[in-house]
Symmetry: C2
Subunit: 264 residues, 2 copies
């Protein structure tokens, strides 16, 4: 049987109650195109597109957008040469790009959060999955040891940590992507008795300033900020494994991008 | 002559065309209170309030809000113990807090950007001040050397850098606070021939992903992300110097807070 983009997209979105409007879309590409191979990635970056082409894949399933904008606004890119070169590469490659953001976050549990928890090896410690956060009860360890373990498991070179490093933590909230903002994180500490939040990204004047105040008051509340890509790439890796099982005849591969930042 | 909070606020806001609505406000406090001393800071954190009280200051001029929210939304803080303890400290201290955000950004040049440029020692290299960005032409140096110089001048322990570290840079855009987003930064590279942007904070999927693509295309465009507080605290230090000159009889002091994050 010929497998088209439509089959893959239908499989990805089966049973999901999609928000309206959504940022998820196939662009560029036609649903009737036959799939040669699939690459999943955090973002369809220049590097990922080049890798997909080299691997002979003609469908990229990307969590974040292609052009540095959640809503795919492009007006301000104008004649920017990075944009133009990337657009030309995509056009000449013939690769289709499916943005898969909203729907995977609406899996039960959230498919991106689940990927991160799997990568951490913490599946057995989940107390409760909610829409935007998973609550875990992990074996007691210091915040510093938790941070070092997270770095090792995710193979990342650094994390940003707020709070008292020597405090012990066992009740942990995990929030991927841009869910690190104060209105999402701060109520969890009290409501769920959390010691530690592990998040992707969020405004620095919100949760980190709250944690600084908590530490100044002698309270053991801590935050590990992983980085947006670092928190969500594992979910796209898990997705590649699922697609491989659903389409055993297709080459499906997660491609890990380079980190956006170096620490100096 | 008795100097009241009103005199200080009138001095801070003289000649500024204030946006409506604005987040700037005196809360708590009465404009008729006599000033005993002033502390300026990036944020009125637990630590800053304790320091102000210890210094005998009864007016804090803060750039960011007290309760981890730009719009000062407090509903979701509820009975949070960090919030309650901080509120009680503020009430018992009798200290007035003036949020000074929108107006100082509307100074000509932007008072926060000017403070950062002064702290970098780059006043002589300014080509143009605009509302949200200053364009500089600095002596040519590598991105790595620029990052090391910035760390040294600002006395900060790390910066996050995107792009090619060995590329040389001379055309630099400086954007403080949360002006690091793609719609603000990306057009500058082409329009102003920038090699490097130094910013406070911004969404990681915007400018950093753009810089990663630019580097993958072999282009020399780079980004140094300072951190929000790190980019704006120098502006509040400069403000303290100005207040000292305007009110020579008053003790005015900038207090440097601890960084929100450690790198592990």
């Amino acid at each position: 049987m010929t497998i088209t983009f439509r089959h893959v997209i239908d499989s990805l979105t089966a049973g999901v109650s999609r928000p309206d409007p959504t940022v998820d879309k196939l662009d560029p590409g036609s649903r009737e195109t036959e799939v040669q191979g699939i690459v999943t990635a955090f973002a369809a970056s220049q590097y990922i597109i080049e890798q997909a082409a080299a691997l002979g894949a003609n469908l990229i399933v990307t969590h974040e957008g292609v052009y540095y904008s959640h809503q795919d606004q492009r007006e301000w890119l104008g004649g920017d040469p990075v944009f133009l070169q990337k657009s030309a590469l995509i056009a000449s490659s013939g690769i289709g790009i499916y943005r898969f953001h909203d729907d995977v976050h609406r899996y039960t549990p959230d498919g991106i959060t689940e990927g991160l928890i799997c990568a951490l090896g913490w599946q057995d410690y989940v107390t409760e999955h909610r829409a935007a956060v998973s609550i875990l009860t992990i074996p007691s360890m210091s915040v510093k040891d938790a941070a070092e373990m997270v770095k090792r498991q995710l193979a990342i070179s650094y994390v940003r940590v707020a709070g008292n490093l020597t405090a012990s933590c066992t009740r942990v909230g995990i929030l991927v992507g841009y869910r690190g903002g104060g209105s999402m994180t701060i109520p969890l500490f009290e409501q769920d008795g959390l010691d530690l939040i592990i998040a992707g990204e969020g405004p620095e004047w919100e949760t980190p300033e709250y944690i600084k105040d908590a530490a100044a008051q002698g309270r053991n509340r801590a935050l590990i900020m992983l980085g947006h890509a670092e928190s969500e790439a594992p979910g796209m890796k898990l997705l590649a494994e699922r697609l491989s099982q659903q389409f055993p005849g297709l080459p499906v591969r997660f491609v890990q991008d380079r980190p956006v930042f170096q620490i100096l």
